[in-house]
Amino acid sequence: MDVLFLSRLQFALTIAFHYLFPPLSIGLGVILVAMEGMYLKTKNPLFHHMTRFWVRIFGLVFALGVASGIVMEFQFGTNWSAYSRFVGDVFGSALAAEGVFAFFLESGFLAILLFGWDKVSPRMHFIATILVAFGAHFSAVWIIVANSWQQTPAGHHIVMGPNGPRAEIVDFWQVVFNPSTLDRLSHAVLGGWQAAAFFVLSVSAWYLLHRRHTEFAKISMKVGLVVAAFASLMQLATGHSSAAGVSRNQPVKLAAYEGHYEAAAPAPLYLFGWVDEEAETVRLGVKLPGMLSWLVHGDPAAPVVGLRAVPPGERPPVNLVFQTYHLMVALGMALLALSWLGLFLWWRRRLFETRWFQWLLVFAVLGPQLANQAGWASAEVGRQPYIVQGLLRTADALSPVVGAGEVLTSIILFGLVYLLLFVLFVYLLNEKIQHGPADDETAGEGQRA
């Protein structure tokens, strides 16, 4: 196994694991603000118990996010030193801004969130909650600025540095608002809201099914459902806008999303299929003819750039990109349907009686997680063979001094540690959920319900 493959594997492993947690932090931040805000407004103690319960879950999620995030901060240097030398001037700035503007805010005020209940006034605690939620979103802003610059570089020029060519900032705001930043930011943040909303729904539905903490569960479910329905609907808009952006800025990636090979021809939209990369065709697929052309150009007969427009060495692994993209889209549609079905049941006053729907919600927690992972995979793999679109190839980005043996060692090390962490995370999450919102001050809440 070569260093390139191993380094990519390590990055995929560590980012996929890390990305289980930040979307939940982003979304739970918003939901906590809603819950605690309602408590301050209504003084209904139920909202207080809800806030305290979800703050404990937030603490656990955040801890795992930090622990796995430290690796991300340094991995560019350890495994991708040629990349770091090439992009440091641009990419490093966004990463440093994330530290200065987001991490300090988040981690500082999280202390008040977790440990400050008796130390500060309820109003101050609420302000801390808002600041933590802001911090989580700022963090998303800067890291997505950095990542979007890799997808659609702008605001830079290439100059000869001390060790060869490198990218340097010419216009900071063009780097920040590069052509894909806003689309990708809105899409990823809403993905975080969905992840947290369906998480809340899953736990609430589980309580309802087991007739535990029912008052708590009913209100949590309503909060979760509002956020889930809103975010899932908005994802249609941000998803469409993202795809339109990809068609303009990274047409080869879009072609890979849909397995579209012909260099310039009207393109269908596949519901599903299997790309035969040898034969350069999609097998076993069900397609809507002309649909991709219509979505991109507003005309079903308009030609769309295909993979054959570039030599094979310039194409990403098509089937992987196709499958992850379609998985994300399918899950997005399913989550939209599910959340609006929930609103319908709520309207018909059957939300808390429809057990089959509650069982669906219990498992739906996996939906946004899978969709977030699949979406990132298709976005990142779809950019291959480039690490910075059009500027630097992934194969040229490695650390020249790091060998396959060293990377393999670190993969095994991280693999074992992450496996342990994941098992512990699920175990403790389950403990907290089984324990429920009733701590000392809320004992008896179960009976009242």
Binding site: V71, A96, F104, S107, F109
Partner: protein, 342 residues
């Protein structure tokens, strides 16, 4: 030293401030971790962990942001150091992960075996993290072999030479001293009386290490001492450092724990300033072949980026200081175990 404070020098200082902030803040919680197993009962151990509970996470952010700032301001150093110290860094990362997880998970189950396991992980990962940070510093001071293209030309084992290990052990001793003083400040009653007894031992331990390291540096690491030899006035910093350390037992004796802690912080700051002065203008000294060294000039980002980053720092750092001060203010006083404690 040039009197002119150019952007590159400013960024040398700013990155230095971030790493010094990390050493001073995370230093005490790493030290608390290193001392953790010397306590016996579960209550004592919970007090130790909760003394750092609300702040350790924020303290670690100084390292993460320092890493980000290094990447942005001196990408060549970021690339060379982290790829060169590959396995050492992977070990550090794993140790830091384990440490975070041990703090978080220990309290979640009451079982004895469970807690012992996480107590052991917490102490071991704190000591290993401190040691590795020190070894990295030792290597930066001693110099590492660099090629003309600024790539590391040594191996993992070549990083573990006696001088680097000595700096590593000194760092562990320094953090233990700092952590013991912090614990005295944050606790009362029986535990405080116990830790008060440790403070003198940790000071003695640190001074032995410090004197040894200083002698080794004077004898074998001329590149770190040149600046100070050329500017004897800087020797005052070394004096200040010793006075600050000497002040610690005096303050503890008079029950002024906060002053003792400030003294310890001042001592660390003086030490790190000496380190920075010794290094400047090098960021990574190449040994052998000093011509291949990475300096604040040949390793830096463009002046444009350094300027933008300076604006970000000027906007952001006052906020960071404000958050840090308010969090420490809100959680001031002796630690008490409550329902929301670890």
């Amino acid at each position: 030293m040039s009197a002119l404070l150019d952007l590159n020098t400013i960024w040398f200082i700013l990155v230095g401030v971030l790493f010094a902030g990390y050493a001073i803040l995370d230093g005490f919680d790493l030290g608390v971790g290193a001392l953790h197993l010397f306590t016996r009962t579960d209550t004592e151990r919970r007090l130790m962990i909760n003394a750092i509970g609300p702040v350790w996470d924020g303290n670690e952010v100084w390292l993460v942001t320092g890493g980000g700032a290094l990447f942005a301001a001196f990408p060549e150093v970021y690339a060379t150091a982290f790829s060169g110290f590959y396995l050492a860094f992977m070990l550090l990362l794993v140790a830091l992960i384990f440490r975070a997880v041990a703090i978080e998970f220990r309290s979640k189950q009451p079982g004895r075996r469970w807690r012992q396991m996480w107590d052991g992980s917490f102490a071991a990962s704190s000591i290993v993290s401190s040691l590795l940070i020190g070894v990295a510093l030792g290597n930066v001071a001693w110099g590492i072999p660099l090629t003309e293209r600024h790539e590391f030309a040594g191996s993992f084992l070549s990083l573990l030479h006696p001088y680097a290990l000595l700096v590593g052990v000194t760092t562990v001793a320094l953090f233990m001293m700092h952590g013991a003083i912090y614990t005295v400040m944050k606790t009362d009653g029986e535990l405080q009386a116990k830790v008060r007894g440790w403070v003198n031992n940790t000071i003695i331990g640190f001074i032995i290490c410090y004197v040894t390291t200083t002698m080794a540096t004077l004898l074998y690491v001329p590149n770190m001492t040149d600046t100070i030899k050329r500017h004897p006035v800087l020797f005052l910093l070394a004096l200040l450092n010793m006075l600050a350390i000497a002040n610690i037992p005096r303050e503890i004796h008079h029950g002024r724990e906060f002053h003792a802690f400030l003294s310890s912080c001042a001592a660390m700051l003086a030490l790190l300033t000496l380190f920075g002065l010794g290094m400047f203008p090098n960021l990574i000294f190449s040994n052998p072949a000093p011509a291949n060294s990475l300096t604040v000039y040949n390793a830096a980002s463009s002046p444009q980026t350094l300027g933008i980053m300076l604006v970000i720092a000027l906007l952001g750092m006052p906020l960071v200081v404000a958050y840090t001060v308010s969090i420490y203010w809100i959680f001031r006083g002796k630690v008490k175990l409550t329902a929301s404690s670890y």
